[in-house]
């Protein structure tokens, strides 16, 4: 039986006649939830979000309610909300759809969240490559302001809040929350070292700050609409709500789809939702959560125990698409970017592509990532150019192994996990390539590059 999409966030998106202006949003019941929310006590809203169990959709999957709970409310300093719209993980393209097609849903989510955590100022940090998105948001904020949905004393509630759009200058690292904060403060976006500071206590301008993903903030709106407990019934325990999956690669119908978490397996997603692979092709591998997530190889068996104690024994296509299951099989749900590869894929080429991205986007603050990502890129580029050396496969793994977990921010993992998993799971393919090319190199003189 084909699984059905559960569209919460994307309820209206792509519906005929639905436009991104305020009037359309209001016609569809927009800002009613905000109206309802500002009548409630902020703590109650936070409690609902806590009960909902909604987890962050930006990559790490940290429960939103917990994040807000950690906010330092005793300091007396202003609390900031930052909407992280620096969507740059290769394979992920969900936030852009929300911003372009339903910006008011995001604005409403931000306003409700601000009220819940009593933030008076919110920043939308939007990726530099989204100029159109930034314009749309600017306009949407103005529209909201004109209807007293934003600004002073919103909806007569006595609560005031301002939203600012801040455009990044085009760096992946600005999506890392502390890098983002540094950038917002006008500095180079170098991620901060934690400890001592966590944004919830000392974030933007040394004030308590909540940094939430675009999709997460939209979910907050629905949590308040439905009530936390009701919302938690969507999806599986610990993986509540819906999840937007951005499918790209070798499927018939790539695109974005919204499902209740864990409602469908990876196989269902590929075959039932996305129309399967191209004719005559077989599945080779899937990256389930954006390019930094570890790759899963077709034909692998995954066994183990889930958090709730139940044991599992899955093939690749049996994996439920939720946070915990993907973590249990050694990868992650990440930012929801599912990249499907069929048997026509050259894994070395695929890794070379990913490595090129991460080598280019390293911020340059700490050594392992700055130097290691580039070295890995050089090796995979060499391999894809037919100039592999015998030692390349081990060298790749070796370099990657030293990076993960030893950098200032999670970029170290992001840039080394692809290499680690590709080389581990497709070792044969890498080795064959290296052997063949190195053999050729010894006759064409490529092996003579001196070791200087």
């Amino acid at each position: 039986m084909p699984v059905q999409e559960t569209r919460l966030i994307f309820k209206h998106i792509d519906a005929a006649g639905y436009t991104n202006d305020l009037d359309c949003y209001l016609r569809h019941g927009g800002y009613e939830i905000l109206r309802k929310a500002v009548q409630q006590k902020p703590e109650e809203l936070c409690e609902e979000v806590m009960k909902s169990g909604v987890r962050g959709r930006g990559g790490a999957g940290f429960p939103c309610g917990m994040k807000w709970k950690f906010l330092d409310r005793k300091s007396g300093k202003p609390i900031y909300l930052i909407c992280n719209a620096d969507e740059s993980e290769p394979g992920t393209f969900k936030d852009r759809q929300i911003i372009h097609k339903d910006p008011h849903q995001l604005i409403e989510g931000i306003l409700i969240s601000c009220y819940a955590i009593q933030a008076k100022t919110a920043f939308i940090y939007i990726r530099g490559e989204f100029p159109e998105g930034a314009r749309i948001l600017e306009r949407a904020i103005e529209e909201a302001r004109s209807k007293n949905l934003c600004g002073d004393n919103i909806l007569g509630s006595g609560y005031s809040v301002e939203i600012f759009v801040h455009r990044g200058a085009g760096a992946y690292i600005c999506g890392e929350e502390t890098g983002l904060i540094e950038s917002l403060e006008g500095k180079r976006p170098y991620p901060r070292i934690k400890p001592p500071f966590f944004p919830a206590v000392l974030g933007l301008y040394q004030c308590p700050t909540a940094v939430n993903n675009v999709e997460t903030l939209c979910h907050v709106k629905h949590v308040i609409d439905m009530g936390g407990e009701e919302y938690a019934k969507i999806g599986t325990p610990g993986n509540s709500g819906t999840r937007i999956l951005c499918v790209s690669g070798h499927v018939q119908k790539p695109g974005y789809y919204e499902f209740a978490c864990g409602d469908l397996t990876l196989g269902q997603l590929i075959h039932d939702v996305c129309g399967g692979l191209r004719p005559g092709r077989s599945l080779k591998a899937v990256i389930p959560g954006g390019s930094s997530a570890k790759i899963l190889r077709a034909g692998e068996r995954y066994t183990g125990k889930l958090k709730d104690g139940s044991s599992f024994d899955w093939g690749l296509e049996d994996i439920p698409m939720d946070f915990d299951s993907l973590m249990a099989v050694g990868s992650m749900a990440g930012s929801g970017g599912v990249i499907v590869m069929d048997d026509s894929t050259d894994m070395v080429e695929a890794l070379a592509n990913i490595n090129a991205f991460y080598a280019h986007e390293s911020c340059g603050q700490c050594t392992p990532c700055r130097e290691g990502s580039l070295w890995m890129k050089k090796i995979t580029t060499r391999m894809s150019h037919g100039q592999a050396r015998q030692e390349d496969v081990d060298l790749l793994g070796n370099v990657a192994d030293q990076i993960a977990g030893r950098t200032i921010c999670a970029f170290g993992e992001a840039c080394s996990w692809p290499t680690q998993s590709f080389v581990l799971k497709f070792r044969d393919e890498f080795l064959n390539k290296a052997r063949a090319q190195a053999g050729a190199a010894s006759t064409n003189g490529n092996g003579a590059v001196p070791l200087i």
Binding site: A171, I173, R188, Y190, R192, I193, P195, P196, F197, L202, Y205, Q206, A359, H360, E361, S362, C363, G364, Q365, C366, T367, P368, R370, E371, G372, S373, L374, W375, K378, R382, R389, E391, L395, V399, Q402, G405, R406, T407, I408, V449, L451, I452
Partner: protein
């Protein structure tokens, strides 16, 4: 005692420090790059990785960066952990992927921290078979050479230059593997402390451009501990020499003075000693010289004989001392000519200023602060002094003081201050109180809470007003305008609220009332129970030393000669044309029968000498300076005396007609000084005496790897010469001597096995970043005394500009105002051309624009210079470049007439 465990060994816990600092302090070799004791931790290089365990039962632990983890009780780490060791090796391997393999021809080779750390981690096999990244280098001015390809992106340079020194024109550009450290365009680095990049950079990106002109490896340098002779602060330096010339100057760590950093003037001025204008031989009057063979310069013995003849014939001998000559030399001159005929070498006004400054500091309840104490002050008032230009290293200390008050506030956040990025983030724009009252804008203004730009008299009035606001018993200032009064109240409030308030002033404006005002502020704070510091900047390296010996003002020397009571003058390292008006000096020389001048370089005065004796400059001398702090410090020659060049005190000792009274050694000189001036007795203890030995041996000036001992002299003889003896110092002119680390006053090299770079200093400190092992050198001769002092009450009237007249104010420049440093070619390149500085109002009134020529009549003589418009300069004041020959010898304060 709470302990922590490193590799299974218990050490005392030090929760205020990080594990890297603690490990290094215990002598453990843990490699690092981005951490610096003065700059703190940022965790960027990931080199100091260790394994940390939660407790005894934790066998897995995790890899952490030692520089980011506080050394709290119970911490357990393993440096020797296999995985951590492998990771540290990997970090070097990564850094090496792009680092050029040019060590054998790299300027830094042999004293490169990266080289040392590479060896320490054991990385030796290259696996990165790719072309290396390359950058374009920049021209960064005459001091610093830029070689970006060597960069390992540790960020130390920008952290020092921007965060510590307040520079703006060096930054990190681009990202990923292309992070570039440089300027937005080619050009000289503007900050006055750029030279420290040479020592801050762990490899050869920023190297000494002046050293490049006459390059020598560190191990081939003969080095000696010296004291910078180019301002009054007495920063400790290490002078390196080879082939008979000085090659470079490095910082010599003094915990209480310069710490890790020098100013560019102090670092690059050494070049003057290598110039052709150096005096290398005596010059005798023509008849005496004629007796000599074909052009052979006279020997020392001939010169002494000639002088003795003259002295015997003389109908009156006078001696003119110098604030840039050592205590010993001044004393030797005084002894030669007698106390009544010894002149300080300063004009009346300046003589008086120095006397007043000394009077204020001796028997003062306020303490004359060291630079460290200045950096640790939590509220500072600068009165009249443009510190960056007159005592640069002090300005750097003041710049650190503004972080003291925020640091106290940040302490509440419960994280250690050495977490540099977190600290910066926590502090944001918060700055502690710093009030600057100066004539013109200063390079510290950006750090100030408030600035006052006013004519000298009004600055003094402001200072008196601050004192009165602190203590109502201090004399009030009549007719003070409300704005200044308000600022004075704010400054007084800030100083009173501080735990370690500080008042700094000096003599650079030649305005006595400023000293009185500063003293009043300091004393008022003491009376109100605040432990105040009171620091006074004076012009030259030994101004206080010479001042303490007494000596009459220069004017009286001229009068003595004018009235025929003297016909012979011995002038010690002093260019009188910088002290007095040219016509006065000319007249003085014209009237003298015999002029005997001792100096290291040619000056306008040496040109008037009948007999000229070549004196050794400080870098090649032994002697004692007394700094503005009141600290006596010893310097030692880096090169053996090359006959006939000798220290002035040695020449003067030989000249003494009475053999019995002649003093032949420095030690004898110091003993005599102590006997005559008991308060100078401490000068003898400033450093170990000539007889000092460590394990029976003296301290070698050359490294154990010194090469070319025979080759250097091969053009003279292929036999290795016997090393010259040094009878005055416990140092040898060879590589032979003790292998034990000597006391700090005698340190000639920072080196330890495996540590070839300047970072080897770690091994010479009690704890890394702490005092020198065995104590820091020098003896403070001036200590605060709780004696009641009457307030100064000579409050000047408010400044009133008069039509057609202007008050000439000396504007000092770090590169150009000091006599000897301005001779150095690199410094000269940074010296701006002479100009009159005008306020915009004065320029407008006279229809003058930038670059126009302005003529001002001074003492009836017109001086024509181009105009520079200084927006902050008060109306009625015209700034002139202090120390430039164009306007040398102006007695201040004085007025000029616009023409």
């Amino acid at each position: 005692m709470p302990t922590l465990t490193i590799d299974g060994v218990a050490y005392p816990a030090e929760p205020q420090k990080n594990l890297l600092q603690v490990s290094l302090s215990h002598g453990l070799d843990l490699p690092y790059f981005c951490w610096h004791p003065a700059l703190g931790s940022v965790g960027a290089c990931r080199q100091c990785a260790v394994r940390q365990y939660r407790d005894e039962n934790d066998s897995r632990g995790q890899i952490v960066m030692a520089c980011m983890v506080p050394a709290t009780p119970g911490t357990r780490i393993a440096i020797e952990d296999e995985e951590a060791r492998l990771f540290r090796k990997s970090v070097i391997e990564w850094l090496m992927t792009n680092h050029p393999h040019d060590c054998p021809v790299c300027d830094e080779g042999g004293e490169c921290h990266l080289q040392d750390m590479t060896v320490m981690t054991g990385h030796c096999t290259r696996r990165h078979r790719f072309p290396k990244r390359t950058f374009t280098n920049q021209y960064l001015g005459p001091f610093i050479n830029h070689e970006m390809n060597r960069c390992i992106q540790c960020y130390r340079c920008v952290r020092f230059y921007r965060d510590y020194a307040g520079g703006r024109d060096l930054d990190a550009f681009a990202s990923r593997n292309h992070v570039y450290f440089g300027r937005s365009e080619d050009g000289a680095l503007e900050n006055e402390f750029s030279g420290n990049l040479i020592e801050v950079c762990p490899t050869g990106v920023f190297t000494d451009r002046t050293l490049k002109n006459h390059y020598t490896r560190k191990w081939d340098l003969q080095s000696a501990p010296s004291i910078c002779p180019h301002c009054s602060l007495g920063c400790n330096t290490l002078v390196g020499a080879r082939y008979g010339g000085v090659r470079r100057v490095l910082n010599r760590y003094h915990h209480h003075i310069n710490g890790y950093f020098l100013c560019d003037r102090g670092r690059f001025a050494y070049e003057f000693a290598n110039l052709p204008i150096r005096l290398r031989h005596p010059v005798l009057p023509r008849p005496a010289a004629a007796k000599d063979g074909a052009g052979r310069p006279p020997t020392a013995a001939e010169a002494i004989a000639a002088i003795r003849t003259r002295l015997r014939r003389s109908r009156g001998l006078i001696g003119i001392g110098s604030p840039r000559a050592s205590l010993e030399s001044n004393y030797a001159l005084r002894r030669l000519v007698g106390p009544d005929r010894y002149f300080s070498g300063l004009p009346q006004g300046e003589s008086r200023l120095i006397a007043v400054a000394l009077d204020i500091l001796r028997d003062s309840p306020a303490r004359s602060p060291s630079l460290r104490e200045i950096a640790e002050a939590d509220a500072v008032l600068v009165l009249g002094e443009d510190l960056t230009q007159t005592a640069p290293r002090m300005a750097l200390a003041v710049r650190q003081s503004i972080l003291q008050a925020p640091a106290a506030r940040v302490a509440a956040l419960n994280f250690p201050g050495w977490m540099a990025h977190a600290f910066q983030n926590a502090v944001q724009d918060d700055r502690g109180p710093l009030f600057i009252a100066s004539v013109d804008a200063t390079r510290l203004d950006d750090a100030a809470t408030a600035v006052l730009h006013a004519p000298p008299a009004d600055l003094a009035r402001f200072g008196f007003a601050v004192a009165h606001a602190i203590d109502p018993e201090a004399p009030p200032v009549p007719d003070l305008d409300p704005e200044t009064a308000d600022l004075a109240n704010r400054a007084a409030e800030a100083l009173l609220a501080a735990d370690r308030p500080l008042v700094l002033s000096g003599t650079s404006l030649h305005h006595e009332a400023l000293l009185g005002a500063a003293a009043n502020c300091g004393w008022a704070l003491c009376r109100r129970g605040r432990p105040a510091g009171l620091g006074l900047v004076v012009p030259e390296a030994n101004t206080f030393g010479a001042g303490l010996l007494g000596g009459r003002p220069l004017r009286e020397a001229y009068e003595l000669v004018e009235s025929h009571q003297a016909d012979t003058a011995v002038i010690l390292e002093n260019d009188l044309y910088r002290r007095s008006h040219g016509t006065d000096v000319d007249r003085f020389f014209d009237r003298l029968e015999t002029t005997i001048v001792l100096d290291a370089v040619q000056t306008a005065t040496t040109a008037r000498a009948d007999i000229l004796l070549p004196a050794a400059p400080a870098s090649e001398s032994q002697g004692t300076f007394i700094s503005q702090e009141g600290r006596a410090q010893r310097f030692f020659p880096v090169l053996p005396p090359t006959d006939p060049v000798a220290e002035s005190w040695r020449w003067l000792g030989h000249l003494h007609p009475d053999e019995a009274r002649a003093l032949r050694s420095q030690e004898a000189m110091l003993i005599a000084i102590a006997a005559e001036f008991p308060f100078l007795a401490g000068a003898r203890e400033a450093a170990p005496s000539a007889t000092f030995r460590l394990n029976g041996a003296a301290v070698p000036r050359s490294s154990r790897r010194f090469s070319g001992r025979t080759a250097i002299h091969a053009h003279l003889s292929v036999h290795e010469p016997k090393p010259p003896e040094d009878s005055e110092a416990p140092l040898t002119f060879s590589m032979e001597g003790t292998t034990t680390a000597p006391p700090a006053a005698l340190v000639t090299h920072y080196w330890a096995p495996g540590w070839n770079s300047v970072q080897a200093l770690n091994k010479f400190q009690d704890e890394v970043g702490g005092p020198n092992r065995g104590g820091d050198p020098g003896i403070r001769l001036i200590e605060p005394r709780n004696v009641p002092r009457a307030y100064h009450n000579a409050i000047p009237p408010a400044f009133n500009s008069r039509e057609g007249l202007c008050t000439l104010v000396p504007l000092h420049h770090s590169f150009g105002s000091e006599e000897l440093s301005r001779l150095a070619p690199a410094i000269a390149k940074r010296t701006p051309p002479a100009a009159f500085s005008l306020s915009p109002a004065d320029a407008r009134e006279r229809g003058l624009g930038e670059g126009d020529t302005l003529s001002i009549r001074i003492y009836g003589r017109p001086v024509r210079l181009p105009v520079r418009i200084h927006p902050q300069l008060p109306r009625g004041c015209v700034g002139f470049p202090a120390g430039w020959p164009d306007l040398a010898g102006i007695h201040l304060p004085t007025e000029g007439h616009f023409e």
